[in-house]
């Protein structure tokens, strides 16, 4: 049905012409879900935009052919191309929060779209809209159709988006990361819906995603992209199960598996990283010795003990006379972290995982509860002095490596800051020496010290953030979703680094993630949060083998299985 041959897309810019997609060929048959998978910069979204004719300026199709059935998509005038959009090709975007016009009701948006392509009259259009909402699983459609987008939850909103893409009966739908913004439970429902639509209506889908799990779950065929080129393509089971291209193999090896814990991910060397020379090893050794000489291990007893911890946020005020209902972000949390162990905290968005980290480091003030660190009481956020010793002892690695480093400071300044602030090292030259060695320890070249954060990739920045945390000689490290903003292969690098450091220095880590597979790779013990409460806690391997709480069971079963990959590795 859709045939793409030798597609090349270029973006002219300041530094010459950038080729985003080069010589890509693919086909989509009716009722088939064709996955486009690749890491950021692979050009997968650009292919989708080229097919529907919505390339962002100044992008242009430089070569190749695009045919939908008998229609040559490249030969169309802009007006003809616009008539085809919606009518024959439609699209689903990533974020359902921003995909709908907030000022119009669902009904108006649906009817408007139907009438734009078919002259069937308002009543018939409304009837079809109602049927469609029922079909995609919106209960009580007749009552809900008059609602505005903000009155739907995220998952329901994505269903409305799908209804809008569907209401003109297109042959092909391009779904660009349709489940990335959704929680795992909602994700599996939306994926099931897409599969059903492909099967019952015979719609062809291009599913663009970075998530191998999503690919494994519902696609028939898959094309693996890197740097705008096709690495490997074929039936999903074959590509994932028995990859032939080295890149695909490396990619599959980097995917964290929910069904087993790996000691280390096997990865090829990455450009820009530190080559393994004797000098580099010496540098890293220097940093390691420096770190070991200052790490003081608590001899006995837990590093962190929390009991009865509750955090409440003020609700938004909607009335002058009624005080707003407080929102309980965390209720009655109790947990213990033993020295040298990794505690994994998992939960869906809004479960309170990050609030827990923020309460420990003092960014939010708990409403009740006690926290003890290395046997001593930990004051609440506002009561904690700026000079409190725990500010050095607890360090944090954040989710977004693009915002956790001040983009106006050089790496050297960023790394020297903890040494200076905590009074660890008074001599500026020595500070620089230690910072440089620490870069070697996290695997970055020494010239990084005079560069700015924007000159590094996300994974490299995350390693700089880890180096900054280590320079405080912490006894406790909190990692808040440290890899969820990163590509799979980069994620594997950062996980490897954390595993190595943890093993070598016996670090105590609180590891927060929404991704169960990632947590399994890191954690010795696990805590599952739901709506601010702990529903299950225990040793990690036992948890993954036989979860006890129904919610844990559900979470584990909904995470896409990667059994397909077992042929690989």
């Amino acid at each position: 049905m859709l045939v793409v041959e030798n597609l090349t897309v270029e973006f002219p810019g300041r530094h010459g012409v950038f080729t985003a997609v080069e010589g890509v060929s693919m086909t989509v048959a009716p009722g088939e879900i064709h996955g486009l998978v690749g890491e950021s910069g692979a050009g997968k979204s650009t292919i989708g935009a080229a097919v529907i004719g919505l390339l962002q300026a100044p992008g242009r199709i430089a070569a190749g052919s695009l045919r939908l059935g008998e229609t040559d998509l490249r030969a169309l005038t802009p007006a003809e191309a616009h008539r085809i959009r919606g009518k024959r090709i439609s699209m689903i975007f990533q974020d359902p929060q921003t995909s709908l016009n907030p000022l119009m009701t669902i009904e108006d948006q649906l009817i408007e779209t139907i009438l734009a392509h078919e002259d069937i009259g308002g009543a018939a259009a409304r009837a079809r809209a109602l049927d469609l909402l029922g079909e995609i699983g919106i209960e009580n459609a007749a009552a809900r159709i008059g609602a505005y987008p903000h009155q739907f939850s995220g998952g329901m909103r994505q269903r409305v988006v799908i209804a809008l893409a569907l209401c003109t009966n297109p042959e092909l739908i391009i779904a660009d990361e349709p489940t990335t913004a959704l929680d795992v439970a909602v994700q599996s429902q939306v994926l099931a819906l897409l599969r059903r639509l492909a099967d019952t209506r015979g719609i062809g889908f291009i599913l663009i995603t970075h998530d191998i799990g999503v690919i494994a779950e519902i696609t028939d065929r898959v094309t693996v992209l890197r740097g705008g080129r096709v690495m490997e393509a074929g039936a999903t089971a074959q590509v994932l199960g028995a990859p032939t291209h080295p890149y695909t193999r490396a990619l599959m090896a980097a995917v964290p598996r929910i069904d087993r814990k790996l000691e280390r991910f096997l990865l090829p060397a990455v450009e820009g990283d530190l080559p393994e020379t004797p000098e580099a090893a010496d540098e890293a050794e220097y940093a390691a010795n420096w770190l070991l000489s200052g790490l003081r291990h608590a001899d006995s007893g837990p590093v962190l003990e929390i009991s009865g911890l509750s955090v409440r946020f003020k609700g938004t005020r909607t009335s002058l006379f009624h005080a707003p209902e407080p929102f309980a972000a965390l209720s009655d949390i109790a947990l213990t972290v033993q020295p040298g162990s990794v505690l994994g905290v998992v939960g869906e968005s809004g479960s309170g995982k990050s609030t827990l980290a923020r309460a420990i480091v003092g960014l939010v003030n708990p409403a009740a509860g006690a926290m003890r660190f290395a046997g001593e009481g930990l004051p609440y956020g506002r009561a904690r002095a700026r000079s409190h010793p725990v500010r050095r002892a607890i360090q944090m690695v954040f989710q977004d490596p693009y915002s956790s480093l001040n983009s106006r400071h050089r790496i050297g300044e960023i790394l020297a800051e903890p040494l200076k602030l905590y009074g660890i090292e008074r001599d500026p030259a020595q500070r620089r020496r230690i910072a440089g060695a620490m870069l070697a320890l996290v695997g970055l070249a020494p010239d990084a010290i005079d560069r700015y954060p924007h000159q590094f990739s996300g994974g490299q920045r995350q390693r700089i953030a880890v180096a900054r945390a280590l320079l405080a000689r912490p006894s406790f490290l909190i990692c808040d979703e440290p890899t969820s903003a990163l590509d799979v292969s980069i994620q594997a690098q950062v996980l490897n680094l954390l595993k190595d450091l943890q093993a070598r220095f016996g670090l105590t880590i609180l590891f927060i993630s929404h991704n169960l597979a990632v947590v399994r790779q890191m954690a010795d013990n696990i805590v599952v949060l739901k709506s601010g409460r702990i529903v299950e806690a225990g040793p990690s391997e036992a948890f993954f083998a036989s979860p006890q709480h129904p919610y844990s069971v559900e979470l584990l079963s909904l995470t896409p299985s990667l059994a397909l990959l077992d042929g690989a590795a």
């Binding site: 408007e112 734009a116 009155q151």
Partner: protein
Amino acid sequence: MAYFILKRLIQSVFVMLAVAFLAFALFRFVGDPISQMTGVETTLADQERLREDLGLNDPFLVQFARFTGKMLVGDFGFSYRTRQPIGEMLLSRIPATLELGTVALLISLIVGIPAGVYTALRPRGAATQAILISTLVGVSIPTFVIGIFLIFLFGVKLGWLPTFGRGGTVQFGWWRSSLFTVDGWRALVLPALTLGVYQLTLTMRLVRAEMMEVMRTDFIRFATARGLPMRALHYRHALGNTMIPVITIIGLQFGGVIAFSIVTESVFQWPGMGLLFLESIRFVDIPVMGVYLVVIAFFFVLINLVVDLLYLAIDPRLRVKEAA
């Protein structure tokens, strides 16, 4: 929703109180009111009696409360310069300024919004570039220079239009209007253009920036991907969402129009509030200055309340509660 309106009302009252306080502080502490009201021949004892009669020896807050209370019932005190009640002076001047400001604002909206939409939809067209350059020059020319230029061109060189005063007016009760005679309109054209051109450039640039922002959002891209007609895409989806921030600024602009009418009125000798204010500054007529402030702030607050109500009408997110 009721809470939203109520909150805005309370904020408005706060702004009015603050401005009233400013006006009161002006009256009370800038120069001595008694020496302003009395001549050199008044004895010290008389001055002291007057001070007592006017309540100027009362505690500060009592004086402020009395000052505010009097304002609420329309007693604005007397001008130092003309010895007339300020309320009457202002009332005779308000219609001129309001008519001028409203016509100028209408010019700015009627031309500015379509121009903004046009330049946003065709960001690279030649006409867009021309409009952008001319609006940049527009914001850079002081209002008074525009006024002088218009006087020079249409008044002096071509002799088509009058260059000062309100022309023929019609009286409706206390409202003296120049909107009902040809002569009045002829007199209004140049000042209104002068005042409108500057606001027009602001309106246009704002609409353009907001519209371009909206055109980049996901829901517009999604609507494009669904193949909606361009007309619906641009005017129903994009323009609708553009209006929310634009309305805010238009509310603020009304304040700007009133303020810049001071300059316009001075250039064209337009007998409005602005000219009165300028005279009062020149003669340090403090009570008039204070009352002018309060009146301006009142108009401003009023317009912004209307803007808030418009928000409610446009944006369902403020009207309809979110589902859990």
